[in-house]
Symmetry: C2
Subunit: 371 residues, 2 copies
């Protein structure tokens, strides 16, 4: 169902999008501030993918870069729309809607900035169903939409158009190279497609899902109920229906470096009772694996989310600190993100991991009971 | 005067362009082979800049990358024209001529490949008056033509358009980043301009000068005359009228590394009689300074050319080897390459050198007498 988004929805959306960021995706708080500023008391139309015309022309918009840089290098706010306009001019066609390429982290907010500035509607769907570190890691790409041509806008009016045909990895490589030269953050428009393409290739209703998760956590806190049960209950009605608690513990070590345009590293989380080996989370912008000793508990593309042990506030990779008490959640991804083509594009091997994908619901996490 | 170029001109042009490459610019031999192959027994019209219409629309074409890579990664030959066509499509305007951005090294040949493939004429002029390592180091830029928009073509059909407005250094930075991702070599079209712009901003008649130098060296060898006197005599009639012998000696050390898309390093050349300190040449793709002990003998943008001590065959940076007997020549550049704006763009400070520019004719090189 299509719906209307106002500034009042943004805190819930930001909280949910941070959870779906699985440690990465950039802190949506900055994006939320930008949307709030541009939107004022107006509203944005969020279109349900089942309700759009087959020939609706959609240009998704996003920010790219290392989350560690994104929180220090604040955009002016005009770059995402500049990227969209650059792609429109190149294609000789005007966008009728924008859309997230990624529903986790700041990229849940960037299309809203574009929508608030341009009056365009936003499609309630995205191409990652979470956050991923690379532009080629899109369900759009898995199911046959090319990322090229991509338009990139810099903060000083720079414009770049990249066309690598069907080679989305080369597109990612070129755009990453430019982003590094821009200091680590750029804004892009890519994966231009029709309404029919959206229905065929996108993960549906992920913006509303993010808002609903964020709202469920808030309401549970207000009503002194378990926010973890609220998350499980909310997701039970979605394509992300399996929720597991993988670990409860204290962060005892974080190793993090920003290299080649990514934030890479690992975190160690000791059990609160000190029993058993610590949980180790490896990340490239986003969390990739959660292992306790030799036991795999969750692996990409399933979601591995670190949250505060009591409030369920999601904690991003760059927010991880020694001593934090956290719970680690594992959440199942929709079937269209677990197909052989999807796993080739953003499964373990796409990150250089030599482990096979195993659904989180078949591993050793504890089922979180619904409220 | 406009003239007609055939395959028979290419060996002379390549030799002269290698000299003007001042150690860099890429080995024109590979370019010569490509032109020969495409051209066959046809010819190319080379237009004198004084004879073109004010509104002639010119798109220069070039290769960019580290010369050390260029000699190992041979282009298919279709990339330079693909870059030109990409820029035409972006600008919505068809080129009426192409032109070198650089007369030294392989970039003397790239526009000839485009001309042979497309039938376009080539302007007898360029924007460096020699070779320089960066796309921003152009007399075009010094006198007010922007490099942007730049079109870049890769060997697998990739197309990129870069528009950084008046910021030619940012354009260079973006294009270099993409070139590195392409493995070290890319082909570009940039500095689109009118015939009037060419007359105002280009170094005139440098293609014919390269051909004439190459021809003079060849003829002197055939006639058992001094090729050095022949070079001096040929250049006396041009804007490059001062020729000096800076050193005669043996290469005793070469330090060279390919880093950040450039070939950087230094060469040491001992005197043949062993007297005095060796000559040290520092380079970034091209030779930047020639010093003997504390004595500066020539400095960028003047030309520092290492040639065989007997045949005057020019030796590029990547061709330098221990034991070679060489002469080092210093050649003055035209006044439009020594203006304050020019020195800011491609003088010593543009390469991070903390020495002031001193014209080679005011330094300690020995005047080479004309034949």
């Amino acid at each position: 169902m299509s719906w209307t988004l106002t500034a009042a929805d943004l805190p819930d959306l930001a909280r949910g999008a941070t959870l779906l960021g699985t440690g990465g995706g950039g802190d949506p708080y900055i994006g939320q501030m930008l949307v709030t500023q541009v939107l004022g008391d107006r509203s944005i139309t969020v279109l349900d993918p089942d309700e759009i015309a087959d020939d609706l022309f959609v240009i998704p918009t996003a920010q790219m870069g290392a989350p560690t840089v994104m929180i220090e290098k604040i955009p002016a706010g005009t770059e995402p729309l500049a990227a969209l306009r650059t792609l429109e001019a190149h294609l000789g066609r005007t966008a009728e809607a924008t859309m997230p390429i990624e529903c986790g982290g700041i990229n849940s907010m960037i299309p809203l900035i574009v929508a608030a500035e341009s009056g365009l509607p936003v499609i309630d769907a995205d191409g990652m169903g979470r956050a991923f570190p690379e532009l080629s890691m899109e369900t759009f790409a898995v199911y046959g939409v090319n990322g090229s041509p991509l338009a990139l806008a810099g903060e000083r009016g720079e414009h770049v158009i990249i066309d690598t045909g069907a080679d989305n990895r080369q597109m990612e490589s070129f755009a990453r190279a430019i982003t590094i030269r821009l200091g680590g953050v750029a804004h892009i428009a890519e994966y231009a497609m029709t309404g029919a393409d959206v229905r065929r290739t996108a993960v549906p209703r992920t913006l509303s899902m993010a808002r609903n998760i964020g709202g469920a956590i808030r309401e549970a806190r207000e009503q002194h109920r378990s926010p973890f049960a609220a998350i499980a209950e909310t997701l039970a009605k979605t394509l992300y229906s399996e929720v597991r608690e993988l670990h409860l513990g204290k962060v005892i070590d974080v190793e993090r470096r920003t290299t080649q345009g990514f934030a890479r590293g690992r975190a160690l989380i000791e059990s609160l009772d000190g029993a058993g080996p610590p949980l180790e989370i490896a990340f490239q912008n986003e969390n990739l694996t959660a292992c306790r000793g030799n036991e795999l508990l969750a692996i990409v593309p399933d979601l591995i989310c670190v949250v505060d042990h009591e409030t369920a506030e999601p904690i991003t990779t760059e927010g991880l600190r020694y001593g934090q008490r956290v719970r680690v959640l594992g959440i199942s991804t929709p079937e269209l993100m677990r197909s052989p083509g999807a796993l080739e594009t953003f499964g373990p091997s796409a990150f250089g991991l030599d482990r096979a994908f195993v659904p989180v619901e078949h591993l050793g996490g504890i089922v979180i009971s619904r409220a």
